[in-house]
Symmetry: D2
Subunit: 207 residues, 4 copies
């Protein structure tokens, strides 16, 4: 399986993004049967999806798995659906603060992930790694890149599977901060995303 | 520093107690300058404190650090105070379900931990391990053994320092369960409790 | 403005549904410029949407506002989008427990509410009635009736506006229950939904 | 029954304190068999308890019920215990920011409320008004005035019953704010505190 794995750079004043950390860790590891390309996406309305699509075109993966950070999550959240909406609560790293605009004018209202989300969540929970299916990827960059990737694949009638996973914050991001927030250690996230990739490698039939 | 470190057996239908796991891990490790005795306490109204006091008498530690599990915590919670109250929401492992009774009739209403709780929490948060001071250790066995240990030390005018730390649940305890709950990985807990012990070893002046 | 206002019957073992209570209260009140039809929908995979669509056809409203209950919400949540998915965590009142099925095979992935969701939320918060935009209406009956109503309107190229609002639980539904959950009083909900209807009456241009 | 009912002025930048609002409402109402004195306490390390004790001395009540605000509570929380500790997370209205100091040097570690806390919580929950027993009144002014009142009564060997109740925030305090927080309407709080006072009037034997 040729996999494109993406994370995001830090945003919102933070110096760390767990999705970036996980991608760095996995870029150094071998997973049997997986030929992996990785890229860190800018948290910016234009550069984020552009970097993703350009890397996709050059890597020609069978599967795209994008990772991002969800501030108050307790679990690894496998997103079911991306909606055609930009509604930023904070500015992106380019200073854009967009309210109630479509990602793609005249694009369809939503795309469902084409990964086996139920199976992924079951595999993680059976391994003791807290996971859930999520039905909202938000209205910021995470939802946007998921939507734009699925839109590109759909528009060009490609067979690539694609989806998005939100990670909780890392312990060092929440330590000493109020209000208290849940976190997950990097090792557990890496273990979790590795299990996701193995599940994908087993379930995705590659020609 | 002679340290007595205690955990609790599982209770309430669970097969795991993070405090027990952490004690098992630390029993196998060397911490410089620390002579450690460990014991797992029964979650039972009488056997719990009895096991603690008997082990205390035989070990004669400088410091007692008791660990327990707090179902919905996001952080390592260093307890400031134990109150003279038993009020169980669930039965203990001996089938006792006690409501609104003092732990020790005519005992004082409360004891403050005699550990440097502020310093411990600061050390943990500075290391990126989420921690907080807590002002309620509950009204179950955790609060009871903290109260009884401090009462014994006070009654016999001993110089031992003592306190209690609540740990979150382990990832495998919350995986696949609703409502979603936060968790902390065993390795981070072990790292945290090790840092606590090192802080105690540095701050407690032993003759 | 001709308004169709709907609530749901109780479900999941509960004897009360706040959306039903609010509809009963509003059915007895006059709101200037509003000609209101009300109906309580069964929480059942087939009878729920059927009752809605049949009432819609007979009432021919300008606006459809459906209300439902969201177990752990703190605010009045105005739903932005309904997705083409049935994924029940509990059985509906007909005993159906459906996993990962589309509401309408070959239906579009989602419909956006055609109500002014941003304006509604702003009006409520300005009045001191806690409100938020929500980007997931769940995957149970609430999401289903929102999706089916918008699908019907779209399919028949009608000009009706439609949307869905989730209400928190009532105080008496959470009193004495663990884990502790937020609630909202019936009077505040009625005040909130009244403000929503007045906002709709002012913003919807009726021929 | 002669009752002293107290609330607090707003603090921490807020313009409202629900406890003040509830006291104002109840000051205007008649409760059968209750002779009520009310006072609003300053949120200030010295003036808070001084105002309470002076009003107590002049009113000579049978029962003291103090009310305060708890930022993230979902229920009416009847406090079981006050501890001898000042540890402010924010400055009081006099600009004092006190860390880890006793309220009264050489005072006992804690006082239990001398109100029937269990009965009060049961009465509220049976009436459908969400309530809980709380085992921490915090370490700010609320805990302080509860401690100082009980200390004064104890020191002077008086027979007055006293305790503290924390109220959630009002809907208008949380509307439009992030993170989302629970709230309770003023009418429900007033209904709840009235039920508490009726319970006290029925349970307190007055000479």
């Amino acid at each position: 399986m040729k996999l494109l794995l993406t994370g995001f750079e830090p945003f919102g004043g933070s110096k760390i993004n767990p999705s970036e950390q996980v991608v760095y860790k996995l870029a150094d590891r071998e997973i049997a049967g997986v030929d992996m390309t990785t890229v860190i996406l800018p948290v910016e309305r234009f550069a984020g999806p552009d970097t993703l699509i350009r890397t996709y075109i050059s890597a020609q993966p069978d599967v795209v798995l994008c990772l991002g950070e969800a501030g108050t999550n307790t679990t690894i959240a496998v997103e079911r659906v991306a909606i055609n909406l930009l509604d930023f609560l904070i500015s992106d790293n380019g200073g854009h603060l967009i309210t109630d605009k479509p990602i793609i004018t005249d694009g369809p209202p939503a795309y469902f992930a084409t990964l086996p989300v139920r199976e992924i969540v079951n595999v993680l929970n059976e391994k003791g790694i807290p996971a859930q299916i999520s039905h909202s990827a938000g209205t910021f960059l995470c939802n946007q890149v998921m939507y734009e990737m699925l839109h590109y694949i759909h528009k060009h009638q490609l067979s690539t599977s694609a989806g998005f996973i939100h990670l909780p914050q890392l312990p060092q991001q929440v330590a000493g901060k109020l209000p208290l927030r849940p976190s997950m250690s990097l090792e557990l996230m890496v273990q979790g995303v590795t299990a996701v990739i193995e599940t994908l490698a087993a379930s995705v039939i590659t020609p």
